[in-house]
């Protein structure tokens, strides 16, 4: 499986990581994605960066600390990108377009950390989870502003849920490998996110298909 770097800003800007810590985070992220958090041991992470157990623990006190650092760095990286896009002060349509494009880029550039943010989030401590979720909510809220200017007909709840649908769709798209090239994947993802945010609506659901008559039949019998 292709390995990836971790978001650069997280090491150069406000979350300084030394070269060694960075290497460890990188190796761990890729192992977590390939095998799952639970199946990955500190020994595996150490082996991937040629460190013995004790040496590894000098950098991170636990596997949980590695996961939390990686996910919180990624959250901060994405928050910074959102802030930059909002601060540019463009027209709402342009701002929204940039927010979408930035997230698509991040997802495609950093697939492992994006994927483990979905599948391994619950292995974080409650404290780290709270910080991470707050960051997720903040990033969603920043999309709601321009969306509501463009679609004043949407209720607050609907605008917020559309944003979550679009953002979740982008992240979850990684859990199944794309058969399209990376450019085509990016273009399709951007168009789909735009459509979810701006075009959805006005369709009547078809009458419900008859419920399954077998629903209450027990497995044994």
């Amino acid at each position: 499986m292709a390995t990836e770097s971790i978001p650069r800003d997280s090491t150069t800007d406000d979350v300084p990581e030394s070269g060694r810590r960075r290497e460890i985070l990188l190796a761990a992220i890729n192992l977590f994605r390939e095998r799952g958090y639970h199946a990955t041991g500190m020994t595996d992470i150490g082996a991937a960066v040629d460190l013995t157990g004790p040496a590894l623990y000098r950098h991170f006190e636990s596997k949980e600390a590695i996961l939390e650092t990686a996910l919180l760095n990624a959250a901060r990286y994405m928050e910074n990108k959102v802030a930059t896009a909002i601060d540019a002060g463009s027209e709402p349509a342009e701002t929204l377009q940039r927010l979408i494009a930035d997230l698509v880029r991040t997802v495609l550039d950093y697939p492992a950390v994006t994927a483990i943010a979905i599948t391994e989030r619950r292995h974080m401590s409650d404290r780290a989870k709270a910080i991470y979720d707050r960051s997720t909510r903040l990033r969603a809220a920043e999309w709601v502003g321009p969306l509501k200017t463009l679609r004043p007909d949407l209720t607050e709840t609907e605008a917020r849920l559309r944003v979550r649908c679009a953002q979740d769709m982008l992240a979850a798209s990684l859990l199944t490998p794309s058969q399209l090239g990376s450019d085509a994947t990016g273009a399709r993802l951007e168009a789909a996110a735009r459509a979810i945010l701006l075009d959805a609506g006005g369709r009547l659901m078809p009458p419900q298909w008859p419920a399954d008559a077998d629903d209450d039949v027990p497995l044994t019998g």
Binding site: G36, I118, H123, T185, A192, I196, G202, P218, L219, T220
Partner: protein, 207 residues
């Protein structure tokens, strides 16, 4: 007979108790309780004892029904996959028009998702932990669900290659699974309508 029934049949054959003492709903109760616990506290954090406690039987009692935690997850997945596939094929056969068929399939997908949200979430997060057989089962049923939607979508949108249609279906289904968490944000009827509209928008996007 489905594979699930076959597996269940094997288990029952090994059950030492007299027939009358067996509780036919037990197996289903265990499956439902386990899936709820997996989604709530994670697959790894859930022990056979927790599952037993949730249905009022001791840990060892559970083993009369399922050989392992993995077997429970796989049985639940297989059951859901069989049921979904049968329904999806019935819709496909009964709805020749591509637009109607796609809309029916999306509506059905949303209903079945809201009914099985704990299972879908667990499957998505834990599929690396499945046995090879469980993994293959999950991958096969996902492929079939994608294929069933991609067929009418390709007919409806000649601008898409088959790979592009499958990609749009894949991301739409992934979005629906993630958004099962919205159930406390809107009344169910409105949520269904909302998800239907966002899903159709994603499927028809980029034309």
């Amino acid at each position: 007979m489905t594979a699930t029934q076959a597996a269940v049949g094997d288990q029952v054959a090994e059950d030492p108790r007299p027939r009358a003492k067996r509780r036919p709903y037990r197996k289903q109760q265990i499956l439902d309780a386990a899936i709820g616990l997996f989604a709530e506290q994670g697959y790894h954090a859930t022990g056979m004892n927790d599952i037993g406690a949730a249905v009022g039987i001791t840990g060892p009692g559970i083993y009369r029904h399922f050989a392992s935690k993995e077997a429970i997850l796989e049985a639940a997945l297989e059951q859901a996959a069989d049921r979904t596939l049968a329904q999806v094929q019935a819709i496909a056969e009964g709805t020749p028009d591509s637009k109607d068929r796609l809309e029916q399939l999306v509506a059905h997908g949303i209903t079945s998702l809201l009914e099985n949200k704990a299972l879908f979430t667990t499957a998505l997060n834990e599929r690396r932990n499945l046995s090879e057989a469980g993994h293959a089962l999950f991958a096969r049923s996902q492929r079939l669900r994608i294929q069933e939607w991609a067929q009418p979508l390709t007919k409806l949108r000649p601008d898409l290659t088959e790979a592009e249609a499958r990609f749009l279906v894949t991301i739409t289904q992934a979005m629906l699974i993630s958004s099962a968490r919205f159930h406390d944000e809107m009344p169910e009827e409105r949520l269904r309508e909302f998800l239907f509209n966002t899903a159709m928008a994603a499927l028809l996007s980029g034309s």
